[in-house]
């Protein structure tokens, strides 16, 4: 899936960030969804996934100078940091920590991470109110009643927006795969 042009772009972004840490956010924007997707599959809890994702990017920023480009995707380096952060967290909370999770996602998992990253991308392009409903319903786990109160709409209207948003996402996903 990764093309030579992507490779070149990525390398340019990494070198820019190594020279000027202000550019690190470009790498963050590019890889946030994948790292979060990788972490949440292994942790299950949103709070823990947020803590660990923060730690991953902070460590990556601190250690960016040590990253050497050898043609291995940058995201693989981030996954390794994430695997270590998850293992550290387990050691803190469990006495007999199980074996650390495998570094790299297998093909099936990669596909799932990519699909979720694509969905997250598509959410950002939804019409404002649909996006707000999805954000509140799934990320903030609010009830239809709470969302209706927050948006000053009827519960029926919120359910309608929820359905439309999902249908929109589905349509775009099919468009991508087709």
């Amino acid at each position: 899936m990764v093309t030579i042009a992507d490779d070149y772009d990525e390398r340019t972004l990494i070198e820019a960030a190594q020279a000027d840490p202000a550019r690190f956010v470009d790498l963050y924007d590019r890889h946030f969804q994948r790292v979060y997707g990788y972490v949440i599959r292994r942790t299950g809890s949103r709070a823990e996934a947020e803590d660990i994702t923060s730690a991953v990017f902070e460590r990556a920023l601190t250690n960016l100078r040590r990253f050497e480009w050898r043609g291995v995707p940058f995201v693989a380096w981030l996954y390794r940091i994430a695997a270590n952060a998850i293992a550290d967290r387990r050691k803190q909370t469990e006495r007999d920590s199980p074996d650390p999770p495998p570094d790299m996602p297998d093909d099936r998992e990669s596909e799932e991470i990519e699909r979720r990253a694509l969905i997250a991308d598509l959410i950002e392009r939804l019409p404002d109110t649909q996006r707000q409903v999805i954000e509140m319903r799934f990320a903030e786990e609010k009830s239809i009643r709470e969302i209706a109160a927050a948006l000053d709409r009827s519960e029926g209207a919120v359910k309608q927006l929820q359905l439309r948003a999902l249908e929109n996402l589905r349509k775009h996903m099919e468009g991508r795969h087709g």
Binding site: V25, S54, T62, A139, K159, E167
Partner: protein
């Protein structure tokens, strides 16, 4: 029919969010693709979190340039004048004239390196017999985050190497450059372990507000505080830092019981200082112990009832 799908979808989402079993939705041909998508949405990050982490990283990166990555040895500032002389006559002169105090003296095969305090300033001196009659225009010692990177930049900017970066016996990795105008720059990164985290001083005020976000907001509006980081766990601000002018103030939320404010003290040897503080009349609150998050921590209450957390970072 559309009406009914709305309700079926919403019920399915309710079951999913309640962590229940929503697999029955998969047998409903109209609902199934939307239910699968809804299941994916549960694992999507919140936009607020994504934006907050991005802002934190942006703040961190500016700090890492200005402050954080530079370990400066105690007593020094970023740039220190470095005087090249033939012998100890110069040290004698400034001792008599300005009450200079010698802090360190390191003889090497080529010269004697001295570090001297004059009032609140530090001065470095290099004594070597071979110093010519035409000394450089000026010479400076400078602490940087990464001596190798700065050295390379200085060479690329037209400097001439007077010594590649290497670890030096006085606790620094240092490289030396003559700039195009004849000035000498002694570029260094401190090797010595510092128990004080970057960006902080030895003692930091530590507060326990019931509601940290509102308190930070207040500090921002009232005193121009700038938030440096905030670590939350399950909705509780475990640790946050703001900067007011050149000082850091830290806090950890205590939602139920609002604790008294105190001080956070970073030292190399927690156990020794804890014993000394107790021997001096403090009350022990927490004997030295390694914490889950990596610090070694002890706590005492002083004669005024102020809590001191004595810590060595991981």
């Amino acid at each position: 029919m559309a009406e009914a799908l709305i309700e079926r979808l919403d019920r399915t989402i309710d079951v999913m969010l309640g962590q229940g079993d929503a697999t029955s939705a998969l047998t409903d041909a109209e609902l199934a693709p939307l239910a699968r998508l809804a299941n994916d949405l549960r694992s999507c990050p919140s936009a607020a979190f994504k934006a907050r982490l991005r802002a934190n990283l942006e703040r961190k990166k500016t700090m890492s340039i200005v402050l954080e990555a530079v370990k400066i040895r105690e007593g020094f500032t970023t740039v220190t004048p470095y005087v090249q002389v033939r012998d100890s006559g110069f040290l004698e002169f400034i001792t008599k004239a300005f009450a200079a105090i010698e802090i360190a003296s390191v003889p090497t095969p080529h010269h004697v390196h001295r570090e001297v305090r004059v009032g609140n300033s530090m001065l470095m001196i290099s004594e070597r017999a071979s110093v010519g009659s035409a000394p450089p225009h000026g010479s400076f010692h400078i602490f940087v985050p990464d001596v190798d990177a700065t050295f390379e930049r200085a060479i690329a900017a037209g400097g001439r190497s007077m010594g590649e970066p290497q670890n030096r016996p006085y606790g620094e990795r240092a490289g030396f450059v003559e700039d195009p105008f004849g000035n000498y720059w002694f570029i260094a990164t401190s090797l010595g372990p510092t128990p004080v985290p970057e960006g902080l001083r030895t003692v930091t005020p530590y507060l326990h507000p019931r509601d940290a976000p509102s308190y930070i907001d207040f500090l921002t509006r009232a005193f121009g505080a700038v938030e440096e980081f905030r670590a939350e766990h399950q909705g509780v601000v475990m640790h946050a830092r703001v900067r007011i002018g050149d000082a850091a103030v830290e806090m950890g939320e205590a939602p139920d019981r609002g604790e008294k404010p105190g001080f956070y003290l970073y030292v190399a040897d927690v156990d020794a200082l804890y014993e000394r503080a107790v021997a001096a009349g403090s009350k022990s609150v927490l004997a030295p112990a390694d914490q889950q998050y990596g610090d070694r921590l002890a706590m005492v209450e002083d004669l005024l009832g102020v809590t001191w957390a004595i810590a060595r970072p991981a």
